[in-house]
């Protein structure tokens, strides 16, 4: 078994370093609709419903919902120590920047390749926002 590592350039928004297993959502995320004590997504009909975002590197297109609930949602996860380790997004907006700033979770965008093509749930990801890099270790067996 061999694992390949890919290093991609990205754009830092909130600095820091975070690593963990990737969890990819193709739908926007509202942190308020997760269980604040466990990190399990409670939003019915969401692609990630029932999945746990705690300790993951979350890859998603954008945030959603009103600023108060979004920010408080991520803040509650962080205060129970079940926030994601890093956030990789496509479309960033003010509320998401504030959310990540408050809980000191690295937030990056503009990967040099489409994150939804190169990152899959289960890959091991290192986000080094200070160096503007995202390192992807594929978990698949390569032949």
């Amino acid at each position: 078994m061999k694992s390949s590592e890919i290093v991609l350039k990205c754009h830092k928004i909130i600095g820091g370093y975070g690593e963990g297993e990737a969890l990819v959502s193709h739908e926007p995320i509202c942190f308020y609709l997760t269980d604040p004590k466990t990190g399990i997504v409670r939003e019915k009909d969401h692609e990630l419903a029932g999945k746990n975002i705690a300790g993951k590197v979350l890859v998603f297109p954008s945030g959603k919902a009103s600023s108060v609930v979004q920010i408080d949602g991520l803040f509650k996860l962080a205060s129970h120590n079940v926030a994601p380790k890093a956030l990789i997004v496509k479309d960033v907006e003010t509320v998401l920047v504030v959310s990540a700033f408050m809980v000191k979770v690295p937030l990056v965008d503009r990967l040099e390749k489409d994150p939804f093509e190169v990152i899959h749930t289960g890959d091991f990801i290192k986000v080094d926002a200070e160096k503007n890099t995202v390192t992807i270790r594929k978990q698949k067996i390569l032949t």
């Binding site: 754009h11 830092k12 928004i13 909130i14 009103s66 600023s67 108060v68 920010i71 408080d72 991520l74 803040f75 509650k76 205060s79 960033v92 907006e93 003010t94 509320v95 920047v97 504030v98 700033f101 408050m102 965008d109």
Partner: protein, 400 residues
């Protein structure tokens, strides 16, 4: 992002940790949008709330010595003495968060408006003024009805802007980004502010994110109608700005609003869509335990309307009746005798209070009625039916 010497010094911590954190947040937002520099703002409105996230940030700034540099008003939390006298069950830890939030804004020298309509009385932007206004109705109202310039701020980014007196140059501060995106042809009979609530609900949900240009509006909307349209379209969607050529200030025609571009999409709203929107907001229960009005806060004119409807009537024994408003509006409503009429009928007129706060815990498993889908959206209650003010008052009197 270009930073001035002074901004560099603030980031280096020279003006204290609170001010440093405020600017760090603004720079992060600027980086996200590739903003070239900071621009001055002359006022801000922080959508404060009694939530832990808000408490963390406002105490981080207040404890770090930050003070508001430009007039910065605050959103409602709740009237702590009033509610604690009435209800015993409000959890002490949540009450403590609210108390500390309110105290921290006071320490920072904010305008303690505790109102979600600061643009009507306590902190009024002017045409073309650069500001940082959070709060769902406030952002689109000041951009569109007043013609000031603000982005869709969070409570924290607006407070940071109030402390630094600046915001990154991006988004709706740039004229090109203020152009219309969707053409909305209104072919519906808009009678009152509830119809504008339904219009906002429908437009926000259909468009999501964008700058709608509404044509076909036949008469000047009232202040309250604008407020409701703004609040709902920015809750069911993310509408930070809109045009109603002839009634909003920035473009006198639809063509001008689109700045020469074609609309990305066209939609038509008729009575049928409004009726459908209203039907979606209904629930199955008939008996109600409470009526909740004032989300967004009721204006003086709306308090007068409630008093007229309640005059000589008695609210049903099984129903509590609440109207949330600002301290400013309540003073005048008292002077005019409206508060007296509402209280004699058995209702409460409360100030400084938002629907989304722990003070309402007594109604957690109760069924209510409101004229605001935004109130129903917060899910502080078991079930909330949405209807016109007249129907809310009638239900309160009959108990169902």
């Amino acid at each position: 992002m270009y930073l001035t010497k002074e901004e560099e010094r603030i980031l280096g911590g020279e003006s204290g940790e609170g001010t440093q954190k405020a600017l760090e947040l603004l720079v992060a937002i600027g980086d996200a949008y590739d903003s070239e520099k900071m621009i001055p703002v002359s006022r801000a409105h922080a959508a404060s709330s009694g939530q832990e996230g808000d408490l963390y940030f406002v105490e981080l700034l207040a404890d770090g010595g930050a003070r508001c540099k430009v007039p910065t008003s605050t959103n409602p939390v709740y009237d702590i003495p009033y509610f604690h006298k009435l209800f015993e069950k409000i959890p002490e830890d949540e009450a403590d968060v609210a108390r500390r939030v309110m105290e921290a804004y006071k320490r920072m020298g904010a305008i303690l408006s505790w109102s979600c309509l600061p643009y009507l009385a306590e902190n009024i932007p002017l045409y073309s003024e650069t500001v940082a206004f959070s709060e769902s109705s406030a952002t689109p109202y000041v951009n569109s009805v007043i013609g000031a310039r603000t982005n869709r701020e969070a409570a924290q980014s607006a407070l940071a802007a109030g402390v630094i007196g600046k915001t990154p140059l991006y988004g709706l501060h740039i004229k090109e980004n203020r152009k219309g995106t969707h053409l909305v042809k209104v072919d519906a009979n808009l009678k009152d502010e509830f119809d504008y609530t339904l219009l906002g609900y429908y437009v926000g949900r259909r468009i999501g994110y964008g700058v709608p240009v509404l044509t076909g509006i036949k008469r000047q909307p009232s202040t309250e109608e604008f407020i409701n349209f703004c609040a709902m379209s920015n809750v069911s969607g993310a509408i930070s700005m809109f045009y109603m050529p002839g009634f909003t200030v920035e473009a006198s025609t639809a063509e001008e609003a689109f700045q020469g571009d074609m609309p990305r999409d066209k939609i038509t709203v008729t009575n049928k869509e409004l009726k459908q929107a209203c039907e979606e907001l209904q629930t199955t229960s008939s008996k109600i335990d409470f009526v909740m009005l004032g989300c967004p806060h009721y204006t003086l004119k709306q308090l007068e309307e409630v008093a007229k409807l309640l005059k000589g009537k008695k609210i049903h024994d099984g129903v509590s009746f609440w109207v949330c408003t600002s301290a400013t509006a309540k003073v005048l409503a008292e002077r005019n005798g409206y508060v007296d009429v509402i209280e004699k009928a058995g209702g409460h007129v409360v100030v400084d209070t938002c629907i989304d706060e722990p003070c309402w815990i007594a109604y957690k498993s109760k069924v209510g009625m409101t004229d605001s889908p935004k109130c129903a959206y917060y899910r502080r209650f078991k079930e909330v039916r949405v209807g016109r003010l007249q129907d809310c008052v009638e239900a309160a009197v009959r108990g169902k």
